[in-house]
Amino acid sequence: MTETPIRLTVNGVPRTGQCVVRKLLVDFLREDLALTGTHVGCEHGICGACTVLVNGQAARSCLMLAVQADGAEITTVEGLMQNGALHPLQAAFRRHHGLQCGFCTPGMLLTALDLLRVKPDPTEAEIREGLSAVLCRCTGYHGIVKAVQAAAPELRAAAPWPDRRSP
């Protein structure tokens, strides 16, 4: 099968690759770019484990073809740390036990970031609704909700990040 060249920016770094048209973005990220932080939980758009930011907005990388991301700016979980320190949201997940197995966590983090960008001061119900885009089977969501609540004021106080290109 013929392959198509792809150019995109991932976590601020320009990347190029080549793949068949039918290849999913998540497979391209994991296999071609070796960014295995983004996980696959269902491949049908429900579990949210594969969520990344595409041009600043949360998107299911299992429902996109890699060729559709040509020219896009992608943020994956690998891009959240800054200067070797955990992003405030990551740190809050750690403090509040927002993860157990960690498999949903990358999708959860990026979904929460998107939520806090759109709604910097969400109520608990809004957090729960926003996070209902991602399934977690370990935590019962308690620690995750607490972490997002704790991180919200910190993110409001800090410069918005990652927000390289707001939609």
């Binding site: 932080g37 579990c47 036990h97 157990q100 729960r128 399934l135 089977r137 909700v145």
Partner: protein
């Protein structure tokens, strides 16, 4: 930090750094070998069919295809898996003659990449002769039901009637008898990471290495070795450091270890297979669906004198080990927290054309306590007593521990009444009852439920033999089974750094963190100074037949092994330091990360100091001391005994306790259930990390809630799965998760090194019961009693509508299941 101060603290997890930054090491992440080929599994579209033949020629001609193996190869090269019953059920890694459930593997296509493998999988032709299917366990036992396994002759995989005490007499003398029939659904905790297997065959040395996110090895390593005809020391299981959740479900991955292993052996290439979600829902594993009949015999004051259990457990198309654990796993705690001595259990294990079952969080205890706790409420209702009072009247007394149950369980410690009281106080039970009175007066449907459960942890392998007749077990060639063992190694390297090595396979439970806390306390260092390695590798770890991370073992047996290994090492350090000081070991003590003279002045020796000397100058060791600073401990429970001739078995080794109170309000128009209050109190002995413990409780509770309200692997009458995606199989999201108030009572276990007990399954086993009791209590004015789960809005709405439409006519209370059944039909065998 003084020693002894890390246990009991919510230390942040060492696992989190890598998992939060995308650097976890899950099975799908880092290929352990290069040049991998990728497998796609061809699966049966039929629930029941005879296979007339396979034709892989078109698939073999397709781009990138390396090879295909079919059920024919499986039949030629494999033995069937051992099963836990005497019925001749031949279960292979893929179908060899018939398919017996939709999704059963029939062939494996291996290609250059997964996309190409899936293309070719569609081109494999399997010629089926479709047969009638049966999915209902009651129908499967009817005389004209289609037979799945001709060699068995019926769909009954096994049946046992277990009698403890004198139930007939208890029932004859009872002042009141309550009977009910229940249905428990087939659901699965569906970890977000699916199964994954990578296999490499080294033909020259004859070694098969299999990497997978398996929670074993336990009994499955010898099983797979036998199926593939490999000596045990030529079959290597390796489990990567991170597993994306399991909840028991990944214990059933082992048929794929054999199947993908066989593909690698046959095709001569390393093969990788990652299950997709549809495959997972179709064919991984789930708990059993069960039809149960219950009877309680009691006195008018609410004292229970006996119970009868009867059930049909539906294990699907074959019986896959460790089933029939669905029926027997809780044998030792069949009576729960209650004192009654007379019990009859009539357990039938039935095969139907559904997917196979296995351990699912709370293995069989969700079923057990749903039935028992509903019965207690029904008894209370019949007697006009408060459900709290009936429970109190029957609880095992604090002074009776260790308590031997009539079924052979040995409850190690507990204070059930105090735990219940704590839950009632926290929930403000009396205030809830007042609120209920106000709500009812206003025409609202408000109810309060309770549930109590003995939470068994660390299965004793011996329980599986309860499925076999005592006469069979008495044969001289029968080998009794018992045990619950885990090992750990603690070592100190030449510069004084501590490494702990485990053979557990954690799936999110934070073993590395917990072990670092334990070792820190034992050796007087900080947890961050302890490196913990826990990757199972059957070639390098010390393991035994019960090794693995299942049945909430780590909190009891894994922690004990680690503490013992650290203590062994500490004893060596003490002896060595005393030798260096020229005194006897009795004159020194270990504290604050070093060895000190108990009296008199002498410079203490730090661990670093001792490690340096011991490693760099072995001449300094006392005469006869083994060089090196490493200690391995293998911890086992002496209370893990084989099942006796009277079918009594201590099926677990430590037993925690759970008391829960829930208040709900039901909207009669939408059938929506609102959880107003939910309190759960746990006694898991000594708590090592409260944060991790509470995380297990939150997660377990939501699994229970999923099974009680939303989740069901539903089939139509032809055996087609109706809930094959996450669109249809409804997993609770953050919006469905209730507020939970958690509290603890601590009754340290006398059997474990640190007094801790397992708690991983926790409220998954109580929530179905507590919410069914609460909803039944709410809907009592309508005469509705919940006897069937899940309480989906449709099902509940149906009950409410029917109850309301006939509200004007006087009638007996309506059961959640429309068909009235005889309480205890004639036993099957």
């Amino acid at each position: 930090m003084a020693s002894g101060s890390w246990i009991g603290r919510s230390v942040e997890r060492v696992e989190d750094g890598r998992l939060l930054t995308g650097r976890g090491a899950f099975i799908d992440d880092h290929p352990p070998v290069s040049n991998l080929s990728h497998a796609a599994i061809v699966r049966s579209p039929h629930a029941h069919a005879r296979i007339r033949g396979w034709d892989a020629s078109a698939a073999l001609a397709m781009e990138g295809v390396v090879g295909v193996i079919t059920g024919r190869d499986v039949a030629a090269s494999c033995k069937p898996f051992g099963v836990g019953v005497t019925a001749p059920v031949h279960y292979y890694p893929a179908a060899t003659d018939k398919v017996r459930f939709v999704g059963e593997p029939v062939a494996v296509v291996v290609a250059r990449d997964r996309y190409l493998a899936e293309d070719a999988a569609e081109a494999v032709v399997v010629d089926y002769e479709v047969l009638p299917a049966v999915v209902d366990p009651e129908k499967a036992l009817e005389p004209d039901a289609p037979i799945l396994h001709e060699a068995v002759g019926s769909n009954l995989a096994g049946h046992r009637r277990l009698v403890y005490g004198d139930p007939d007499r208890a029932f004859a003398e009872a002042e009141v008898i309550v009977r009910e029939r229940f249905r428990f659904p087939k659901y699965a905790s569906t970890p977000i990471e699916t199964y994954g297997v990578i296999a490499r065959w080294d033909g020259l040395d004859g070694v098969l290495t299999v990497w997978s996110n398996f929670m074993g090895p336990f009994i499955m390593h010898p099983l797979v070795a036998r199926v593939l005809g490999l000596p045990e020391n030529r079959l290597r299981f390796i489990v990567p450091p991170d597993i994306g959740g399991s909840f028991g479900i990944k214990s059933s991955i082992y048929p794929y270890l054999a199947l993908i292993g066989l593909a690698a052996m046959k095709l001569g290439v390393p093969v990788k297979w990652i299950e997709d979600r549809r495959e997972h829902l179709l064919a991984s594993s789930s708990g059993t669906d069960r039809v149960a009949w219950r009877e309680v015999a009691a006195r008018n004051d609410g004292t229970i004198v006996g119970m009868r259990f009867k059930w049909f457990d539906n294990v699907g198309g074959y019986i896959r080990s460790p089933e029939p654990g669905c029926s027997f796993r809780p044998t030792g705690n069949f009576v729960g927290p209650y004192r009654f001595q007379n019990l009859e259990v009539d357990a039938s294990v039935v095969m139907t054309n559904k997917s196979l079952t296995g351990p699912n969080r709370g293995y069989a205890c969700g079923h057990l306590y749903f039935e028992t706790e509903r019965m207690i409420d029904l008894l209370a209702e019949r007697l006009g007593l408060d459900p709290v009072e009936v429970r109190r009247r029957n609880l095992i007394d604090r002074a009776s521990f260790p308590y031997r149950t009539p079924t052979g369980g040995l409850y190690d410690s507990g204070d059930y009444a105090a735990t219940l009281d704590k839950a009632l106080v926290l929930a403000k039970y009396d205030e809830l009852r007042r609120e209920q009175a106000r709500a009812r007066a206003a025409g609202r449907y408000y109810g309060i439920g309770l549930a109590l459960a003995v939470d068994p942890s660390v299965s004793n392998m011996g329980y599986v033999a309860t499925a076999l007749d005592p006469q069979f077990r008495a044969k001289p060639e029968y080998l009794p089974k018992s045990g619950a063992v885990d090992s750990a190694t603690v070592k100190i390297d030449p510069l004084g750094r501590v490494i702990a090595i485990l053979g557990t396979t954690p799936q999110g439970q934070g073993h590395q963190t917990i072990v670092s806390q334990i070792v820190a306390d034992e050796l007087g260092v900080a947890p961050r100074d302890v490196t913990v390695v826990d990757e199972m590798d059957t070639f390098t770890r010390v393991w035994s037949i019960s090794s693995g991370t299942y049945s909430s073992r780590f909190g009891s047996v894994g922690t004990s092994a680690v503490a013992l290994a650290a203590r062994k090492l500490k004893a060596k350090l003490v002896e060595y330091a005393a030798h260096l000081m020229g005194v006897t070991p009795g004159e020194v003590e270990f504290r604050d990360g070093g060895v000190h003279r108990t009296s008199g002045k002498a410079t203490p020796y730090s661990i670093k100091d001792l490690a340096g000397r011991a490693h760099w100058n072995t001449e300094s060791l006392p005469e006869g001391m083994e060089p090196g600073l490493a200690a391995t401990a293998v911890f086992g429970f002496s209370v893990a005994r084989a099942v006796d001739a009277e079918d009594r078995v201590n099926s677990s080794n430590t037993y925690g306790f759970i008391a829960e109170v829930m208040a709900v309000e039901v909207d009669p128009d939408t059938a929506a259930i609102k959880i107003v209050k939910y309190v759960t109190v746990h006694d898991a002995g000594t708590i090592i990390n409260p944060m991790i413990v509470e995380g297990q409780i939150y997660g377990g509770a939501l699994h229970g809630l999923g099974g009680a309200l939303y989740e069901e692997l539903a089939y139509d009458d032809d055996g087609q799965l109706l809930t094959g995606t996450f669109m249809d199989y409804l997993v609770p999201t953050a919006s469905e998760a209730p507020d939970i108030e958690i509290a603890h009572v601590v009754s340290p276990s006398p059997l474990t090194t640190l007094g801790s007990k397992g708690l991983g399954e926790s409220s998954s086993m109580t929530v179905p019961a507590v919410i069914a009791n609460a909803v039944s209590d709410a809907l009592r004015p309508l005469g509705i009693s919940i006897t069937e789960l899940p309480m989906t809005p449709t099902r509940l709405h149906d009950l409410i509508t029917r109850a309301r439409s006939s509200a004007s006519e006087p009638r007996p209370p309506r059961s959640g299941h429309p068909r009235p059944e005889p309480a205890s039909p004639t036993p099957l065998q």
